[in-house]
């Protein structure tokens, strides 16, 4: 279960301001909004890559950011699995090493490598370089890498963007299977609300930098 509490959160970037206030509880949370409305900024704030200028961020009872008391939990300590829009695989590593990159952090009870590779259909890719993978393959490797780091929950930024219909359906199946198998909650972001239907119990909207 995700219990995200944003108290008067404000983050300014030049002319753009992101504002969020509210408590959101869901097993699977979707965030939708047009391009450049602040979705990725909000995600980066949740995973700890950005600091708010004002307010507090709580997640499942833990304070992650509190500007007033100058508290900021670093991204590495948040245990949030992040799948970026461009997958951001490490180009100097092969698929296997990309997958195992953050595995040392995972508890003994983390996902089994073989089972995960099999579930994501990555067995045939293990010996390949990260370069030259298709868009769908890169997303699946990034998803596996995030899961193997033993996160409390996943954050996926536009996982379906740029994929053809077959890859979209495949990734959607992967996500639903993984959710059932690993019982991992997620926050999923997409500019297309229809991507979120069936995958997210609660869907929030971001418009002009305001989360509602």
């Amino acid at each position: 279960m995700i219990d995200l509490n944003l108290e008067q959160v404000c983050l300014r970037q030049g002319d753009f301001t992101l504002s969020a206030n509210g408590r959101f509880r869901a097993e699977t949370l979707g965030i939708s909004g047009k391009s450049a409305c602040g979705k990725t900024t909000l995600l980066e704030l949740i995973i700890g890559l950005r600091r708010p200028d004002h307010g507090r961020v709580h997640m499942n009872g833990e304070v992650l950011d509190d500007v007033a008391s100058k508290l900021h939990v670093e991204a590495r300590a948040r245990r949030i699995g992040y799948v970026a829009q461009d997958a951001d695989l490490f180009p100097h590593l092969g698929v296997r090493d990309n997958l195992l990159f953050g595995a040392a952090r995972a508890d003994a009870g983390g996902p089994d490598f073989g089972a995960l590779v099999s579930a994501l259909g990555l067995s045939a890719l293990l010996g390949r370089s990260a370069k030259g993978l298709s868009g769908g393959e890169r997303r699946r490797v990034a998803l596996g890498r995030a899961l193997l780091s033993g996160p409390r929950f996943l954050v996926l930024d536009e996982p379906f963007a740029g994929l053809d219909e077959v890859s979209r359906r495949g990734l959607r199946r992967n996500l639903m299977y993984l959710h059932g198998y690993f019982q991992i909650p997620w926050i999923l972001v997409s500019h297309d609300r229809s991507d979120l239907r069936g995958l997210c119990g609660t869907i929030l909207g971001v418009k002009d930098g305001v989360l509602s």
Binding site: F101, K131, R145, S149
Partner: protein, 222 residues
């Protein structure tokens, strides 16, 4: 054999100088690329000085510091009983100082070329800053760093002004390719200059060519 000895001595000193300067230059290049701190511009200017100062002036400053009466040289003499100035150590130090700006500059460009998103991704996967540097920044910057090493090595091989001021040109002890050419020119031994010149030319050409090829080789983003 005499020529080979001079070439081997110069090559070895240049390699040692680059090895000595590289960790500091890579660290400094990373700091310049990734961090802001008060006095950054001052440090950057100081680091670039050996490139623009007359090399003899750099050598003189080094002599003041590393000579037996200099604050580092005196400390070295009292603790280890060894001299730096006018020994092979002085050759290495002069080469290291002269190669440092090239190494640090290349490192800076190389680290600036590493996508910050890759480093951020590593942080979300639980890596601390040292691990991010070792497992992401350094491997992704290696191409630029190696090109810098080749350029720095080429610069060290051809070093003259600072070396002759700090180390002299003592045959068999501190004589490098550049100082050997100069000495023979002064003595009118024109015939013995050509093999040394050929060594210098071939070495410099190969290193600069390799550095450029290395930087040009194709890369595919993942």
């Amino acid at each position: 054999m005499e020529y080979l000895g001079i070439f081997a001595f110069t090559s070895a000193c240049a390699a040692l100088a680059v090895a000595l300067a590289l960790p500091a230059a890579a660290g400094f290049g990373w700091l310049l690329a990734r961090k802001d701190w008060p006095g950054k511009a001052l440090f950057e200017t100081l680091c670039t000085l050996p490139l623009v100062l007359p090399p003899v002036a750099t050598g003189l400053i080094l002599l003041e510091i590393l000579g037996r009466r200099g604050w580092v040289g005196a400390w070295f003499w009292s603790w280890f009983g060894v001299d730096i100035a006018f020994t092979w150590r002085a050759v290495v130090m002069a080469m290291a100082v002269m190669a440092f700006p090239l190494l640090a500059g290349s490192a800076r460009v190389a680290f600036e070329g590493v996508p910050r998103r890759q480093e951020d991704m590593a942080r979300t996967l639980g890596l601390g800053e040292v691990q991010v540097f070792r497992r992401v920044s350094l491997p992704l910057a290696r191409r630029g760093l190696l090109a810098g090493v080749l350029l720095g090595y080429a610069r060290a091989l051809g070093e003259f002004g600072a070396t002759i001021t700090l180390a002299g040109a003592i045959p068999g002890r501190t004589e490098t390719l550049a100082s050997a050419i100069y000495s023979r020119l002064q003595l009118g031994q024109d015939d013995s200059i050509w093999p040394l010149l050929l060594f210098s030319l071939c070495g410099a050409f190969c290193l600069v060519w390799a550095s450029q090829q290395w930087l040009r080789s194709p890369r595919t983003p993942a």
